[in-house]
Amino acid sequence: MTAFVTLQNVSKTFDVSAPWLNRVIERKPQSFLQAVSDVSFDIRRGETLALVGESGCGKSTVARLIVGLYQPTKGTIMVDGKDMRILDENGDHSRALRRKVQMIFQDPYASLNPRWRVADIVAEPIRTHKLLTDNAAIDKRVAELLGYVKLTAKDGEKFPHQFSGGQRQRISIARALASNPEFLICDEPTSALDVSVQAQVLNLMKDLQREMGLTYLFISHNLQVVHHISDRVGVMYLGRIVEIGDKKQVFGDPQHPYTRMLLDAIPDLKMTGKARVPVAGEVPNPLNPPTGCAFNPRCPKKFGPCDKEGPQLISFKDRQVACHAAV
C-alpha cells in the first residue's frame, strides 16, 4: 500500500524572542523554540496513526502543520501525493486538497461558533467548497450528516449551547465530514469528555472510519484510548518521534525508555498490586533542551553517548526507535 500522508523531515521553529526594543536595550539574543524537529512518518490510506506524548511534546503542532495552519520551517508534507505548500492561481492553498483534510479539535465548547445554528455550522464547509449550491440540497445533506453522528435534522435548528459536550463533539465530527474528507486530524477529540461519552464518540469514529474508509491522525495523551483506536502509534518527546510502529509492537514490547515510562505511568485498573515506579523529573524546557538525547536527564538506561549525541530513528524489532541503549 502506498502512503496517503507523508511527512519528510518536517521541522517547525517558533520565534519567541523578546520585542526588538527589549533585545536592543537589554542585549538579549533572539530565541527560538524548536517545537517539532525532523519528524518523518507515513500514514497509509484507511489506517489510524496515533501520536502520543505529554504536553509540549509537539504533537498538536504536527497536526496543525499537516492541516496547514502552520507552515513547516523545513521539510515537506504530502497529502495524496501533492505537496501541501503548492498554491493555486489565487495564491491560496489548493482548495481541492484542503477539502480532503479536515480537523476535529479538543474543546467542543470553543470550536463551534455560539452564534450560529448547528445546521449553518455543518453547512459551512459545503458552502465554502461549493460542493452544493441549491439550498434544499444543502439542507438534505446537513440532515444526512447529522444522521451519521446520531443527531436528528431537528437538532440543526438549535444553537451549540443547547447540546452537551459529547453531542457538541459529534457536531464537530459532522462538520468535519461535510466536505467529504478522506483524512481527519483529531486533536485530543475526547479529552474534554467523560468516559462514558468518550466511549460513544470513539465507537462512532470507528464506525465512520469503517463505513467511509477514512484515514485518521489521532492525537491524544491517553494511552488506553490510543491503544483502542489506532493501528500504529508514534511516541513523541520534546518535538521528536522517539518510537513509532505497529500498536501491538510499541505497546506490547516498548523499546524506548520513554515509551516504557508512559506505559508504567498508567494507573493500574486491574489492581494487580504491581508496584509502579513513577519516573522522576519532568519534561525539560524546550527553549533550552538537554544536549544529546532529549530524554537523557530522566532516562534510567542512560550511558556514555546519551548526553553527547542525539540518537537517530533506527528500524529495530519491527518498529523504529531513537535510542542508543535500545539498539
Partner: protein, 322 residues
C-alpha cells in the same frame, strides 16, 4: 457506619433555587471516612461530586445551599456553623486540594509566604518556626532544594511542582481530613503518577482521611480504599474499591467500567451507555438511571431505590432487592 469515622455525611441535600424552581444537585448522599482512609468519589460531570466536596469545606457558592442533612467532623456538626467558626476549621481540620494548581496559589506571593501565613494562622508558631516547618513540608512533598525554592513565586514552578506546593499547603496544619477535588486532572500522566503516589504516602503517614473526587477510575483504583460512584446527585454504588471495579453491581457502574478502554482485553467496540446524564430539572421519577439502563423494569420507573446491600458493596438498584 463505624463510630470511628472522622468525617460523616448524612443524607446531604444540596439545592439551587432558580426562577424555574428548585434544582436538586445533590439528593440524599451519605458516606463516612475513617482516619487514614481514602474514599474515592467518581462520577461524570454534573453528578454532584464536587458540590459534595464544597459543602464539606463550607465553600458552597450561593445560591447553592444545604437543604437538609448533616456533616459531622469527629462527631460534631459542621454544616451549620457560623462563617467565622467554619473559617477556623477550614485549613486547620479540613484541608483542600483543587484541580488547577495555578489558580489555587496566589501569584503575587512567594510560596514560602503563603505557607508560613497558613501555618501561623492555624498553629501557634513564630515567623522562623513557621518558616522551618514550611521548608520541612516542601521537602516532604519532594521539592528539591526546598530552602532556595521557598522564596520563589508560583510561576517559577512547573505544574507538577505547583501541585506539590498545594499539597504542602493543605497538609500544613495537619488537618484530619483532606478534600482533593480532581488533584491530578490538569497534570500529564507521568506527573500524575508521581502526585498520586505522594498523596497516598503522605496521608498514610499522617493518618489523614481523604475524600478524593475524580472522574478517572484509574486514579481511584490506584489510590482509594473505598469508592462511591455518583450519578445525578445520588450515590449509585459504594464499596471497597476492588469489589466495585472487578464486580460492579449497579448497571451504571458496569457501563462506566466497560467504557474505559483497556490494554489486555481488546474489544472492537467499547461498551457504551446510550444517552446522557439527565439535566437537573428533568431527573426522571424512580431511579435516575432508568432511561439509560439496560436492565430496567417497572419498579425502576416508579420507586427510587436506596442503597441496598449487594454482596460486599451497596448499590442503589432494585435488581438487588430481595
Amino acid at each position: 457506619m463505624t463510630s470511628s469515622a472522622v468525617l460523616e455525611v448524612k443524607d446531604l441535600h444540596i439545592e439551587f433555587p432558580t426562577r424555574k424552581g428548585v434544582l436538586k444537585a445533590v439528593d440524599g448522599v451519605s458516606f463516612s471516612i475513617a482516619p487514614g482512609e481514602v474514599l474515592g468519589v467518581v462520577g461524570e460531570s454534573g453528578a454532584g461530586k464536587s458540590l459534595t466536596g464544597a459543602a464539606i469545606i463550607g465553600l458552597l457558592e450561593p445560591p447553592g445551599r444545604i437543604a437538609s442533612g448533616q456533616i459531622l467532623l469527629d462527631g460534631r456538626r459542621i454544616d451549620n456553623l457560623p462563617y467565622e467558626e467554619m473559617r477556623k476549621i477550614r485549613g486547620r481540620q479540613i484541608g483542600a486540594i483543587f484541580q488547577d494548581p495555578l489558580t489555587s496559589l496566589n501569584p503575587l506571593y512567594t510560596v514560602g509566604r503563603q505557607l508560613t501565613e497558613t501555618i501561623q494562622t492555624h498553629l501557634d508558631m513564630n515567623e522562623s518556626q513557621a518558616r522551618d516547618r514550611a521548608v520541612k513540608l516542601l521537602e516532604e512533598v519532594g521539592i528539591p532544594a526546598a530552602r532556595e525554592r521557598i522564596d520563589h513565586y508560583p510561576h517559577q514552578f512547573s505544574g507538577g511542582m505547583r501541585q506539590r506546593v498545594v499539597i504542602a499547603l493543605a497538609l500544613s496544619a495537619e488537618p484530619k481530613v483532606i478534600i482533593a477535588d480532581e488533584p491530578t486532572t490538569a497534570l500529564d500522566v507521568s506527573i500524575q503518577a508521581q502526585i498520586i503516589t505522594l498523596l497516598k504516602r503522605l496521608c498514610r503517614d499522617h493518618g489523614t482521611a481523604v475524600m478524593l473526587v475524580t472522574h478517572d477510575m484509574g486514579v481511584i483504583a490506584e489510590t482509594a480504599d473505598r469508592v462511591a460512584v455518583m450519578y445525578a446527585g445520588r450515590v449509585a454504588e459504594i464499596g471497597p474499591v476492588s469489589e466495585v471495579i472487578h464486580k460492579p453491581q449497579h448497571p451504571y457502574t458496569v457501563g462506566l467500567m466497560g467504557s474505559i478502554p483497556e490494554f489486555d482485553t481488546h474489544r472492537e467496540r467499547l461498551i457504551q451507555i446510550d444517552g446522557a446524564m439527565p439535566r437537573l430539572d428533568a431527573i426522571p421519577q424512580g431511579c435516575a438511571f432508568n432511561p439509560r439502563c439496560t436492565k430496567v423494569f417497572d419498579r425502576c420507573k416508579s420507586d427510587r431505590p436506596e442503597l441496598i446491600n449487594a454482596g460486599p458493596t451497596q448499590a442503589a438498584c432494585w435488581l438487588h432487592a430481595k
